[in-house]
C-alpha cells in the first residue's frame, strides 16, 4: 500500500486514480458522459483513496455532509447508467479464451439482498476457485485488487481456458441461465464472430462483438495506467546482452506513443500505435505461439504450453541449430557475423545421425528460439521502417516464458545496437479482454 501511495504521489495522474480522471475522455472507465465525469473526477479520486487505505467496508462514510451528499448524487447518477452485474470482458482467440471478471467488493447489504441467486453463484464459482473444469485457470497472481471501475470498487480476475472448450462454456452459460441476467456479453477476438451464432442458439445470449485491436490497445493503456496493485505494469530487462546480469526492471510507460505493439498470440500482429484511437496494423506473421506449440507437439509429443516450455527450459538449441561457427569455424568477418549467431535454424537436423540422437528438450528449445528470434527480427524491421523506438511485446506466448522475453530483449538491443528497447507487460495476454470489459462499461451509458 505504501508503495502504491508513493507511486500515486510521485506519478500523480498516472497512479491508480488516473483511471477516474481519464474518464473525462469517455474512454478509460468509460463511466460517464464527459461532463459528468469531469465534474466527478476528483471525487472519484477521493473515493478510491478510501478503499486503498481502509478497504471496502467503510465506503459510505467520511467526508463532510455536503461532500457525502455530492457523492451520493454522483453514485446514484452512475448507478442509473451502470450496466447490471456481472461484468465480463471476453477475448476469444485462436487458442485461448481470455476472460476478465470484475468482482464488486463494495456490495451494500441492500444490493446483496436484491442480487439474484444465479448472479451470486457465478461470483462464488469464479472467485472461490482457481481452476475450472479440466482446463480453465484463474491467474490469481494477476488479480487487480481494489480497482475502481465505473464507480464501483472491486477485484479484476483473469481467467483463461482453451478455445476448444468454448462449446462447453456456452453450454454452461445455458445451464446457469445466464441470459436471465440481461447482461451484455462483450467479446472480442475472432471467436466473437465465430461463436456468435452458438451463443445465440445454445444460450440465448447476444454478443457485443468488438474489434480485437481496439480492445487490445484500450485494455493495455488502462492496465498500464492503473498499475499492477501498486507496482508498475511494465518492465524491461537491464543488461539484456549478458545472461548473468540480465535483470527484470519495472518501468513506466509515461509517454507511451508512438509505440510498436507486438501481440503474440497463436499468430502475431504488429501495430504502430500513435494514440489511443490512432493506430495501424503494420504487418503480422503466422509464426507465433501457435506455431511454437504446434511444432513442439509434433516434435516432442508434448500436450500443453507449460509442458513445452518446461522442456524448452532444459534444452540446448545449439544441438539443433547450425551456428555461423559451425559453418565458418568462427565469425564470418566479411559480413560481420558472430560465430555464435544462428545461421540455420534446425540446420543440424539435415543430418540423420544428429536427428537420431537429439533430445526432445533440445528440439523444444530450438523451436522456441526460432520462433522468438523471428518475431524479434520482424518487429525490429517494422520499428525501423515505422521509425518507432519503443517496442512493446504482449500476448500469451510470453506467459511464464522468460526464455522468450529475455531473448527478445537481447535481440532488440543487439541488432539495433542499443537503439531499440523491448518492453513487456505483466498482464501479457489479457488486454483484449480488459478492453472488451471497458467497452461494456462505456456502451451502456451511451444513450
Amino acid at each position: 500500500m505504501d508503495k502504491a501511495k508513493s507511486m500515486v504521489d510521485k506519478k500523480g495522474a498516472s497512479g491508480p486514480f488516473h483511471a477516474g480522471q481519464r474518464s473525462c475522455n469517455g474512454h478509460v472507465n468509460g463511466c460517464g458522459n464527459p461532463g459528468l465525469a469531469s465534474a466527478s473526477g476528483l471525487e472519484n479520486n477521493h473515493h478510491h483513496h478510501h478503499h486503498v487505505h481502509r478497504g471496502a467496508a467503510d465506503a459510505e462514510c467520511n467526508g463532510s455532509p455536503a461532500k457525502r451528499s455530492r457523492l451520493r448524487r454522483r453514485t446514484e447518477s452512475m448507478r442509473r447508467h451502470r450496466p447490471p452485474f456481472p461484468w465480463f470482458g471476453m477475448d476469444i482467440g485462436g487458442t485461448l479464451v481470455k476472460l476478465v471478471y470484475f468482482e464488486p467488493v463494495d456490495i451494500t447489504a441492500e444490493e446483496e439482498q436484491e442480487e439474484v441467486e444465479n448472479l451470486k453463484s457465478i461470483r462464488r464459482y469464479l472467485t472461490s476457485n482457481v481452476a475450472y473444469g479440466k482446463t480453465g485457470v484463474r491467474d490469481v497472481h494477476l488479480e487487480l485488487r481494489n480497482l475502481t471501475m465505473c464507480g464501483r470498487t472491486g477485484n479484476l480476475h483473469f481467467i483463461r481456458f482453451p478455445t476448444q472448450a468454448m462449446p462447453r462454456f456456452i453450454q454452461m452459460g445455458h445451464d446457469k441461465n445466464f441470459s436471465s441476467l440481461h447482461t451484455t456479453l462483450c467479446a472480442t477476438g475472432g471467436g466473437a464472430y465465430k461463436f456468435e451464432n452458438d451463443f445465440r442458439t445454445m444460450a440465448e445470449l447476444e454478443l457485443l462483438k468488438l474489434d480485437e485491436l481496439d480492445c487490445l490497445i484500450r485494455g493495455l493503456l488502462f492496465v498500464d495506467r492503473v498499475g499492477f496493485n501498486g507496482h508498475p505494469e511494465c518492465y524491461y530487462f537491464q543488461n539484456p546482452s549478458d545472461t548473468q546480469s540480465c535483470v527484470k526492471q519495472p518501468c513506466t510507460l509515461d509517454n507511451p506513443f508512438p509505440m510498436l505493439l507486438v501481440n503474440i498470440g497463436s499468430g502475431v500482429s504488429i501495430l504502430a500505435v500513435y494514440s489511443e484511437d490512432n493506430y495501424k496494423r503494420v504487418t503480422g506473421t503466422s509464426l507465433g505461439g501457435g506455431t511454437f506449440l504446434g511444432l513442439c507437439c509434433l516434435l516432442t509429443g508434448c500436450e500443453t504450453f507449460e509442458e513445452a516450455l518446461e522442456m524448452a527450459s532444459k534444452g540446448d538449441s545449439t544441438n539443433v541449430d547450425k551456428l555461423v561457427k559451425d559453418i565458418y569455424g568462427g565469425d564470418y568477418e566479411r559480413f560481420g557475423l558472430q560465430g555464435s549467431a544462428v545461421a540455420s535454424s534446425f540446420g543440424h537436423m539435415m543430418s540423420k545421425e544428429k536427428r537420431d540422437t537429439i533430445s526432445k528438450e533440445d528440439l523444444a528449445r530450438a523451436t522456441l528460439v526460432t520462433i522468438t528470434n523471428n518475431i524479434g527480427s520482424i518487429a525490429r524491421m517494422c520499428a525501423v521502417n515505422e521509425k518507432i523506438e519503443r517496442v512493446v511485446f504482449v500476448g500469451n506466448f510470453l506467459r511464464i516464458n522468460t526464455v522468450s522475453t529475455k531473448l527478445l530483449a537481447y535481440a532488440m538491443d543487439f541488432w539495433s545496437k542499443g537503439q531499440l528497447r523491448a518492453l513487456f507487460l505483466e498482464h501479457e495476454g489479457y488486454f483484449g479482454a480488459v478492453g472488451a470489459l471497458m467497452e461494456l462499461l462505456k456502451t451502456t451509458e451511451d444513450p
Binding site: 482467440g93 485462436g94 487458442t95 477476438g189 475472432g190 471467436g191 465465430k194 456468435e196 485491436l213 497463436s266 499468430g267 496494423r281 504487418t283 506473421t285 503466422s286 509464426l287 507465433g288 505461439g289 501457435g290 506455431t291 504446434g294 511444432l295 513442439c296 507437439c297 509434433l298 516434435l299 509429443g301 508434448c302 500436450e303 539443433v320 541449430d321 547450425k322 555461423v324 559453418i327 565458418y328 564470418y332 566479411r334 559480413f335 560481420g336 557475423l337 549467431a341 544462428v342 545461421a343 540455420s344 535454424s345 534446425f346 540446420g347 537436423m349 539435415m350 543430418s351 540423420k352 536427428r355 528440439l363 526460432t370 528470434n373 523471428n374 527480427s377 520482424i378 524491421m381 521502417n385
Partner: protein, 785 residues
C-alpha cells in the same frame, strides 16, 4: 546467412548413386586441352566447375582480289577463305557431388597443355573436398568468399544474358515470364536462401552489403521437415509438400473468425498461425500436409523479410537464389505468392535462369581478374548450353533428376563489346522480339515446324558450302542431330533459353552450325549473287536518274523492297530461288504488292523528304546480292545526295545470306569505283560502314557494337532505317525510337502474312516520327531542289 549448404546430403546421395559413370567427353568437359583458370563451387549436393578455354573454329573470311593484277582466272569479286580462329569460351558444368571423384579423374586425364596451378574454390563443401581437389588435380586450392562470388556471378549473368531473370507464374500460360534486364543492373537486392537466408544489397560491381538475413531458410525446411516426416531428401520433401494440404495443419483466419477479418482486410484463407492446428496430441497429420505447411511457413517468412528490407532500402528489383529456390517450382511459387501478398504487387520476385552457377562464375571471375573478363561482352552459346530444365512438378520428377545430372552453360567471348543504342526511346522497356513464342502456343508450333522442315535444306547447303571436304557430310549430320534435338527440347521447354522467339530459333541454328564448323554455308551463294548484282548496278542507277524527283523517291523505296524479296532465310523464297535462279529483280518488283501496302506510311515519308535533309541516317542492312547492291545502295546514294550522312550497319559475322561487314567493305569499294557519289561519300567520311556486333539475322538494339553506338551518337543520327523481315518484323516491329525511323520489309512467309492480316509479299513500310518532335514543321519547309 550465406549459403552454407548442407553437406550431409552428399552422404545420403552417395548410397544411391552409381559412381562408376562413364563420362561422354564430347558433351561434358569439352575443350579441356587448353583449359585454364579453374574454379569450383561445391554446394550441399551439387558441384559446379568452371574453366576458361579456347575454341578453334573455322570462320569464313572474304578478301578482295587484287584487280589491278587482272587475274584472268576469276571474274569473281572477292575470294572466300576459311580460316581458323580462336575464340575464348567459358565452360560451366554442374553435376551431383557423387560424381566429383570421377569428374576430377577425368579432368586430370584430359588436362594437358595447361599452366594452371591454382583452382579457385567456394561453397560450403569447398573445405571438405579441399584435400581431394589437391590430390586429384595437383592444383592448389584457393578459397574465395562465397557471397562475393555469388554477387560477382550475379552481376555477370545479369549483364551478359539478356533473358536471365524471370518472374514465375504457376498458373499462367507460360510458367516463366522473362524480363528484359534494365541497362543499369544496379541497385538490386539478392535474397540467397541457402540453409539460412542472406539479404544482400548490391549497389555496384564491387559494392555490396549484407543488410539482413534470417536463420529460417532451406536448412530449416530440410531439418525440420526431416524430423516431422522422416523423409531424408530435400527433393522428396518438396515433392511431399507439393501434394499436401496446409489447411489441415495451419490455423487460418477463418478457423478463428469463422470467416474473414473484414476490418483489416484479412481474408479467411490467410494463415493466422502456422502449425496452429497441430497443437494437439489426439490427431495424426499426414506427411504431405506437414511438409506443405512448413513450406508455406518458411516461404512466407522469407518473403516478408525480403519485402521489409526492400521497402527500407527502397529497392524494387529482388532476385531470389540459393538451393531452396534452385529451379524448384514449389518454392518459386510460394515465394512469389508471399512477395505479392506482402507488397501488393509493388515488388516482383525475380528468379535467375543460371542461379545455380553464380558461385562458380564468381569464383572463376575472381581467378581470371588478370584477363579482365568484365571488359568484354559474353554471349550464351545455345549449342553448348543445356538450358533451363522442365520444372513442372507434374512431369516425371525422376526425369528431372536425371537430366539435371550434367548441366552445362557455355559462354563465348564476343569480339566486340555490346551496348544499348542510345536512340531507343526507353531502353529499360525495349523488347526486341515481336512475338514471344513462349506465350503464343500457336505461333510456337508453327515456327518450330517451320524450322524443322527447313532443316533438310540447311543441311544440304551446309554440305554444298564445303565441296572440298568429304567429311562435311558427317559433320552436317551431327549438326542436323544437334539442332533437331534443340528443337525437340524447345517443344517441351520453350523457356529453356529465355523467351522463345524466331530470333532465338535462328540464333540457335547459327550456333549449332558454328559448332560443327559450318561458319558460313551461304558464302558461295552470296558471292555469286553479289557478282551478278554488281553487274547491274550502273544500269539501275541510270534508270533511277532518268526519273523525276518524285518518281525516283518511290522507285527507290520499291527497289529496297524488291531487293528484300531476295532472301534465303525465308522458306517461300528460298524454294523459288533454288528452283528458278532466273527469278530476277524485275520479277520481284512485279511480285510486290500494289499500294496501299499492308502498312503504308509512304505518303508521310514522301512528305518528309520534301523537308530539310536528315543529318545522319543509320541503316541496318539485310541480304547480300540484289538487296544490298540494287536496293539499298541506290537508296543510300540518294540520301548522300541530299546531304545526309549514312552509317551502314551490317553483321559482324555471317548469318544466312545476310551481308557481313567484311563483304560490304569490298562491295562498297567496288561500287565506289563506279559511282562518284558513293566514292565521295567514302572519301569525305559521310558514308561509314560499321559492324553491328551481331551474327544474327535479327537485330537486338540493346546489344550493339560499342563503336557503332558511339558513332551514331557522335553524328547526331536523326533517322534509323531498318530493313528486312528478321530485323524489322520478327524484331523491332514495335521498337520505339527517339528519332525518326523507317522500317521496310516484305513479308515472305504466308503464315506471318496471314497473322498480320496480309498475304505473301505484303509490304510493311512503317515510317514513324516520335511524338512531340518537329516532324510536321520540317515537312512544311519547301522541297529541296
Amino acid at each position: 546467412m550465406a549459403e552454407c549448404s548442407p553437406v550431409d546430403s552428399s552422404k545420403a546421395s552417395r548410397h544411391t548413386m552409381d559412381k562408376s559413370i562413364t563420362l561422354p567427353p564430347d558433351e561434358i568437359f569439352r575443350n579441356l586441352e587448353n583449359a585454364k583458370r579453374f574454379a569450383i563451387d561445391i554446394g550441399g549436393s551439387l558441384t559446379k566447375l568452371a574453366y576458361y578455354s579456347t575454341v578453334q573454329h573455322k570462320v569464313a573470311k572474304v578478301r578482295s582480289f587484287d584487280h589491278s593484277a587482272k587475274e584472268a582466272a576469276s571474274d569473281k569479286l572477292y575470294e572466300i577463305s576459311v580460316q581458323e580462329e580462336v575464340t575464348p569460351r567459358l565452360h560451366f558444368i554442374k553435376f551431383e557431388n557423387a560424381y566429383i571423384e570421377t569428374c576430377l579423374d577425368f579432368i586430370k586425364d584430359h588436362l594437358v597443355n595447361t599452366e594452371t596451378k591454382v583452382i579457385k574454390a567456394t561453397g560450403g563443401g569447398a573445405h571438405k573436398f579441399k584435400e581431394l581437389l589437391e590430390r586429384k588435380l595437383g592444383l592448389r586450392v584457393d578459397k574465395e568468399d562465397e557471397m562475393t562470388c555469388l554477387i560477382k556471378g550475379c552481376n555477370f549473368v545479369l549483364r551478359n544474358i539478356p533473358h536471365e531473370a524471370f518472374v514465375y507464374a504457376k498458373h499462367a500460360d507460360s510458367e516463366f515470364r522473362f524480363q528484359t534486364t534494365h541497362p543499369d543492373i544496379f541497385p538490386y537486392l539478392l535474397v540467397n536462401i541457402g540453409s539460412g537466408v542472406s539479404i544482400v544489397k548490391v549497389e555496384s560491381e564491387d559494392q555490396f552489403e549484407r543488410i539482413g538475413g534470417s536463420s529460417i531458410g532451406g536448412g530449416t525446411f530440410w531439418g525440420l521437415g526431416a524430423l516431422l516426416t522422416k523423409t531424408k531428401r530435400f527433393d522428396e520433401l518438396l515433392q511431399l509438400a507439393s501434394k499436401g494440404q496446409h489447411t489441415s495443419v495451419d490455423m487460418l483466419v477463418k478457423d478463428i473468425y469463422g470467416g474473414s477479418y473484414g476490418s483489416l482486410g484479412l481474408t479467411g484463407d490467410l494463415i493466422a498461425s502456422s502449425f496452429g492446428k497441430s497443437a494437439t496430441a489426439d490427431k495424426e497429420f499426414s506427411k504431405e500436409d506437414m511438409a506443405k505447411s512448413l513450406l508455406h511457413m518458411i516461404s512466407n517468412d522469407i518473403g516478408q523479410l525480403a519485402c521489409l528490407y526492400a521497402k527500407l532500402h527502397n529497392l524494387s528489383r529482388v532476385y531470389f537464389g540459393g538451393f531452396f529456390i534452385r529451379g524448384h517450382p514449389v518454392t518459386m511459387h510460394t515465394i512469389t505468392y508471399s512477395i505479392n501478398f506482402f507488397t501488393k504487387g509493388e515488388v516482383q520476385a525475380l528468379f535467375l535462369r543460371h542461379e545455380g552457377y553464380l558461385g562458380a562464375i564468381g569464383a572463376f571471375l575472381k581467378g581470371a581478374e588478370e584477363d579482365n573478363p568484365n571488359q568484354y561482352s559474353w554471349g550464351e552459346n545455345y549449342a553448348g548450353s543445356s538450358g533451363l530444365m522442365s520444372i513442372s512438378p507434374d512431369m516425371n520428377p525422376m526425369q528431372r533428376a536425371r537430366s539435371g545430372t550434367f548441366d552445362m552453360l557455355e559462354m563465348d567471348r564476343l569480339e566486340r563489346q555490346l551496348v544499348n543504342l542510345s536512340l531507343l526511346q526507353d531502353p529499360s522497356s525495349y523488347i526486341p522480339d515481336t512475338v514471344d513464342l513462349t506465350e503464343d502456343a500457336m505461333a510456337r508450333e508453327y515456327w518450330l515446324d517451320c524450322f524443322e522442315e527447313a532443316l533438310d535444306g540447311v543441311v544440304k547447303r551446309a554440305v554444298a558450302s564445303q565441296p572440298d571436304m568429304p567429311e562435311s557430310v558427317e559433320r552436317a549430320e551431327k549438326f542436323r542431330h544437334k539442332y533437331r534435338h534443340k528443337l525437340q527440347t524447345l517443344r517441351q521447354q520453350p523457356f529453356a533459353y529465355g523467351s522463345l522467339t524466331v530470333r532465338s530459333l535462328l540464333d540457335t541454328r547459327e550456333h549449332c552450325l558454328n559448332e560443327f564448323n559450318f561458319p558460313d554455308p551461304y558464302s558461295k551463294i552470296k558471292q555469286r549473287e553479289n557478282d551478278v548484282a554488281l553487274k547491274f548496278y550502273q544500269k539501275a542507277v541510270r534508270t533511277l536518274e532518268a526519273l523525276s524527283w518524285e518518281e525516283r523517291q518511290f522507285a527507290l523505296v520499291r527497289g529496297v523492297l524488291a531487293g528484300n524479296v531476295f532472301d534465303w532465310g525465308a522458306k517461300a523464297v528460298s524454294d523459288v530461288l533454288e528452283s528458278d535462279p532466273e527469278f530476277g529483280f524485275e520479277e520481284a518488283k512485279r511480285q510486290l504488292e500494289e499500294r496501299p501496302w499492308l502498312v503504308d506510311s509512304y505518303d508521310q515519308w514522301f512528305h518528309r523528304l520534301k523537308g530539310r535533309p536528315h543529318k545522319c541516317a543509320l541503316f541496318f542492312v539485310d541480304n547480300s546480292g540484289v538487296d544490298i547492291i540494287l536496293g539499298v545502295m541506290p537508296f543510300v546514294r540518294e540520301l548522300l545526295s541530299r546531304g545526309t550522312e549514312v552509317v551502314l550497319a551490317s553483321n559482324s559475322g555471317p548469318a544466312l545470306n545476310d551481308v557481313t561487314n567484311g563483304e560490304l567493305q569490298i562491295l562498297t569499294e567496288r561500287i565506289a569505283a563506279m559511282d562518284p557519289i558513293i566514292q565521295a561519300g567514302l572519301r569525305e567520311d559521310r558514308l561509314t560502314l560499321i559492324q553491328s556486333g551481331s551474327s544474327s539475322p535479327c537485330l537486338d538494339l540493346s546489344r550493339l557494337d560499342k563503336v557503332l553506338a558511339m558513332v551514331v551518337r557522335e553524328r547526331n543520327t536523326d533517322l534509323v532505317i531498318i530493313e528486312g523481315m528478321g530485323r524489322a518484323i520478327h524484331t523491332n516491329y514495335y521498337a520505339t525510337l527517339s528519332c525518326e525511323s523507317l522500317k521496310m520489309a516484305v513479308i515472305k512467309n504466308s503464315w506471318l502474312a496471314d497473322r498480320l492480316g496480309g498475304k505473301l509479299f505484303s509490304v510493311v513500310f512503317k515510317y514513324e516520327v516520335p511524338a512531340g518532335t518537329g516532324g510536321l514543321m520540317e515537312a512544311t519547309v519547301p522541297p529541296s531542289p
